[in-house]
């Protein structure tokens, strides 16, 4: 809840802290510049303000600009004050000056032209015999007293990072333009940007050396306090409490500064690595500039071509031309775990294709045809026999069989017709059979039968 309130407070004041360009922002910058250049007095009048507003309007080609009466209330919060004795005159607050200073220093970092080494040396040096008491140490390097020095170093590093970041951007941009320029002019441009890296790398190395020396010196001072405590322990026991607390304070100071420099080390490490990397790249570029530039150009052309060939689709892209697609190896290894496993191997079904035996087929077919014919003949004879029985009222089996054998030359037909006719008598009540016990032998055949007559 508290946090939200603070944020609200910040938000509501924000516009007042940093008014937007035409709501006084540019006006404050212009006032600051003009006072600095002594074009206007430190205590300026509304006439000065109106002139500046007119200049801004003309300078930015604006049709209208918010007049002084509309913006002055906002500016009176933090940026402007009236002169206590001459209320028609105004002056810029320290806050206003600080804000503009901050902007200027972000753009033209004051540390840019100062070596880091010098910042370290100025703030972190111990001259021999300079520090004798813990009060002297605290005044020089105590947590509160050292804030400013620490800030100088961190600001310096930040400036360095900003500068390098800009330089990378510049290098990358030069590289992007390479097809428009000759290789030699590119190398020259690179080298100019790059000189900065070289100088910075050297500076950082020196700063680290002087920092290491300082930490060594500081540790010696701490050791002095330790020795004093040891001596007091032996020779001046009354003072031992004080000297112990002095040594502890000295140690605290050392730890604080060492931790600070550890964080400096980490930042420096990153900066150095980047510088080294960029330096490698530049060497590489110089070695193979023409071939690499050509290669890069080819890639750009291919990229442009693929863009020209591409069309929108909801799911992806479609090529309108025959821009070729390429394959890569892709055989993902799949692990399959069957849930059930059939342990008995399946029995194979073998189909044997038997070839047709044509002679056998023909013989069998003939047999079938013959049998069918025989049955037909038998049926015809049975019908004939029944006709005889109908017309004559009686039928003699032996005569019938004889005439069949005469005609068909087949005893089995005669026999089957006789059997059928005998069966016929038992099926029909109006047909009688008369069997006389008198052997009749059929001529030419080895067959004898009772003299049998069927009557109706």
């Amino acid at each position: 809840m508290v946090n939200i309130l603070i944020k609200k407070e910040l938000c509501s004041k924000y516009d007042l802290l940093l008014p937007s360009k035409f709501d006084g922002g540019y006006l404050v910058i212009a006032l600051y510049e003009k006072i600095k250049n002594r074009e206007i007095e430190e205590f300026f009048t509304q006439k000065d303000i109106n002139e500046i507003l007119a200049d801004i309007k003309a300078g930015f080609n604006l049709d209208t600009i918010r007049p002084w009466n509309n913006i002055k209330d906002n500016l009176f919060h933090y940026f402007l004050r009236s002169h206590p004795d001459e209320p028609w005159k105004y002056y810029l607050t320290d806050y206003a000056k600080n804000v503009v200073d901050l902007m200027v220093s972000k753009l033209e970092n004051p540390y840019k032209n100062h070596p880091l080494k010098k910042s370290v040396q100025d703030s972190f040096t111990i001259r021999h015999g300079e520090i004798k008491t813990i009060e002297e140490l605290e005044r020089k390097f105590g947590r509160i007293f050292i804030q400013g020095s620490k800030k100088i170093i961190t600001d310096h590093l930040e400036a360095l990072e900003d500068e390098l970041r800009e330089a990378y951007k510049e290098l990358n941009n030069i590289l992007r333009k390479e097809d428009e320029q000759s290789a030699t002019s590119l190398v020259r441009e690179f080298t100019i940007v790059f000189r900065k890296f070289g100088e910075r790398a050297e500076d950082i190395t020196e700063a680290i050396i002087s920092k290491d020396k300082f930490l060594g010196d500081l540790l010696n001072v701490v050791d002095d306090f330790y020795r004093k405590m040891e001596d007091d322990g032996r020779f001046d026991t009354d003072n031992v409490q004080k000297s112990k607390s002095d040594w502890e304070k000295a140690q605290e100071i050392y730890t604080d500064i060492r931790e600070f420099f550890n964080s400096v080390d980490r930042k420096v490490h990153i900066i150095r690595r980047q510088i080294n990397h960029a330096s490698e790249k530049l060497t590489e570029l110089q070695e193979q500039f023409s071939s690499r530039a050509f290669f890069r150009l080819q890639i750009k052309k291919l990229h442009r071509t693929v863009l020209e060939s591409s069309q929108y689709t909801p799911d992806g892209v479609r090529f309108s031309s025959n821009f070729p697609l390429k394959q890569v190896v892709y055989e993902p290894v799949r692990m399959l775990y069957p849930r059930y496993y059939e342990f008995e191997p399946p029995k194979p079904n073998i189909i044997v294709n038997v070839e047709v035996d044509e002679t056998y087929e023909r013989n069998e077919k003939q047999k079938i045809v013959k049998e069918i014919n025989r049955q037909q003949i038998i049926n015809q004879w049975v019908d004939k026999a029944k006709d005889i029985l109908e017309s004559k009222g009686q039928l003699s089996i032996d005569e019938l069989m004889n005439s069949i054998i005469d005609e068909e030359k087949d005893l089995s037909i005669a026999y089957q017709v006789a059997s059928s006719m005998t069966a016929y008598t038992s099926e029909n009540n109006d047909v009688f059979i008369d069997v006389e016990q008198k052997i009749i032998s059929l001529s030419q055949h080895n067959l004898s039968l009772w003299k049998t007559k069927i009557m109706k």
Binding site: Y168, L171, N172, L175, R176, R273, Q274, H277, A278, E280, K281, E284, F295, R296, Q298, I299, K300, K301, L302, H303, R304, T305, V306, L307, E308, S309, S310, Q311, Y312, G316, V317, R318, F319, S320, S321, N322, F323, P324, L325, K326, Q327, V328, V329, Y330, E331, P332, V333
Partner: protein, 224 residues
């Protein structure tokens, strides 16, 4: 060190302790199309130590080339088809054609690699891609291809569709080892472009070598 010229015809290196330990990883990664660079330190080292044996292994058993390529001073290994064909992976289920979208995004990333040439690690945030789409020299083409409409700005829904397209492609490139994804699921896209993205220049080697005739051919095809 192994003598590169000596033809090694046995597979005894497979019983070396380091090979036994990493064989499955190496084999699975390579066959799935991975480009293995020193970020895969263990696998890379084992490949490097027995390079000729591995090459022989893949050439004899899979009819595939184990390629050791160098791009931008970084070395990486991958499997490629031989000159004569696709080896044992000729079956279409065993090789993968890059899609149109993948080809387009791949070539875009290759171009972006050079925008960050002086950075040690080519880290790309989703915002970099957005800037590319909205402000680069090719903004009109990107907008036309990705949004089907050329405007100054697009709403959240439209962006999310485009981010989705990129997200899927980055995932597949991560599997190939062309990029290393650093963002998790449902996080805004962050990844590093690895030097292996240069494989694209190998895939399009013929087109790049005869670029003029290639681009002329494309134009002719379009007109006909």
């Amino acid at each position: 060190m192994e003598n590169e010229n000596y033809e090694i015809s046995d597979y005894s290196f497979l019983t070396e302790e380091s090979v036994e330990k990493h064989f499955a990883d190496i084999n699975i990664l390579l066959l799935s199309g991975k480009h293995i660079d020193h970020k895969y330190y263990a696998e890379y080292t084992v490949l490097e130590s027995y390079e000729s044996q591995w090459r022989n292994f893949y050439s004899n058993l899979y009819r595939l080339n184990l390629v050791a390529d160098i791009s931008d001073s970084s070395r990486y290994y991958y499997l490629d088809f031989t000159e004569n064909g696709k080896g044992k992976l000729s079956d279409t289920s065993r090789n993968k054609e890059l899609t149109e979208l993948q080809t387009l995004i791949g070539l875009t990333l290759l171009d972006m690699y050079y925008q960050k040439y002086f950075d040690e690690e080519k880290i790309i945030h989703w915002n970099d891609i957005k800037t590319q789409i909205l402000e680069s020299d090719h903004q009109e083409a990107y907008k036309r291809i990705l949004f089907n409409d050329i405007r100054d700005s697009y709403d959240e829904k439209e962006w999310s569709t485009v981010e989705n397209k990129f997200g899927k492609t980055i995932d597949s490139f991560d599997k190939l080892g062309w990029v290393e994804k650093q963002s998790g699921r449902n996080e805004e896209l962050v990844f590093e472009i690895r030097p292996a993205i240069h494989r694209l220049t190998k895939l399009y080697k013929d087109e790049l070598q005869n670029f003029e005739s290639f681009s002329q051919q494309l134009k002719n095809d379009e007109e006909s």
